[in-house]
Assembly symmetry: C2
Homo-oligomer: 220 residues x 2
């Protein structure tokens, strides 16, 4: 994965003070997000589809039905743009113009290919599950051979990536600080609430700790 | 805005039981989301950029710096795919295969054009602000003429849209219901916490109710 800023395609053209290219920053954004948005071109048309993802080294793995237009297109080697976004807060400035958001986003580019080997598919599916909710995989019935064959797994080899991050309070024009307007940040976060048991859950099966104390997606 | 399922481009090919095309469903998904992800093609390359949006009738308005590659490309009339996603929960099934997410997503297609008129730009900016945090606009210094000229506003006339929604408990294979595995839904939601005042906030300015009791983006 190259994080070179000189590559024009992933260069952040606006607000360069918010552009970051270091690998650790990008990885952390990708690895702690629930979902990504995958952009690709199908028949000349841009398409953007949300899906779960996992990064293993310099590859992003996606999965789903073999009938998925996104997965079929990427499996044929199409170029993908994978964008991952965390919204961290609304930034309320004294002027309309300087309102903003605190956020962390990463934009990754690479080409897809299908993962054909059953062992590699199983490993990618385990990684997808474990990143999202650590500990779940060991508790559930693993995929059967038939289920594996009904699942398309695509690997995207990332060759360029960049990140943008905004943090901190609003930055107003100097003369606006005298205005009688509240200013600051309204923090936002994705939170889990109490697990809801399946109506068909058998009596006596307690919700596992990884659900009652869910900490969100975590790097593998 | 057409919501006809027969249009191939926005047809949901997978899991047709999750596909919804009614206008109210699509509007509600779009109008209550903090951000969207905008897909477009630049120099043959798919790009996906997160940004805030507002729907007014059958148009989506985006805004930002005139240097933004996304906005410049769309202002020239490029085709956009605007995807809006709410993640509502992790669906924990008894088998790995039947794990899923509860979510609501909308995919919109249309072409962009720049909004040139200052009055229309101002109205779009007000709508962007009011959808995200109702009441804020009246409290802040409005954009100056210079600030308006430093803001590019793009309208996307939506001509096709579709939605996908999953709700409810996991759906396991019948024989798996006998397994000794907890199953259910872990609800997720974006929540606001207490506003953080700007360190330079003057004494005696209280946080407004729209910040202390933030209810999220709401339809105009």
């Amino acid at each position: 994965m190259s994080t070179h800023s000189e590559k024009d395609r992933s260069k952040v053209k606006r607000l360069p003070e918010r552009a970051l290219y270091d690998r650790d920053t990008i990885d952390e954004i990708v690895d702690t997000a629930l979902i990504c948005h995958v952009g690709f071109i199908d028949d000349g048309q841009p398409l953007v589809i949300p899906t779960i993802h996992v990064r293993v080294g310099e590859k992003i793995y996606l999965h789903g039905s073999p009938a998925s237009r996104m997965l079929r297109t990427l499996a044929r080697g199409a170029e993908a743009c994978i964008t991952v976004t965390h919204v961290d807060g609304l930034v309320l400035a004294r002027s309309a113009f300087h309102h903003s958001m605190n956020y962390r986003s990463a934009v990754l580019f690479g080409r897809g290919s299908a993962v054909a080997d059953d062992g590699q598919k199983l490993e990618a599916l385990r990684a997808l599950s474990e990143r999202l909710i650590r500990g779940r995989w060991a508790d559930v019935r693993p995929p059967s051979e038939e289920e594996l064959h009904k699942t398309l797994v695509v690997a995207i080899a990332i060759d360029e990536a960049s990140a943008k991050v905004r943090t901190g309070p609003p930055l107003d024009d100097e003369e606006d600080y005298a205005l009688d307007v509240w200013a600051g940040v309204l923090p936002l976060q994705l939170t889990a609430s109490a697990p809801i048991a399946d109506p068909r859950l058998a009596a006596g099966i307690a919700a596992p700790q990884y659900a009652t104390g869910y900490v969100g997606p975590r790097p593998l």
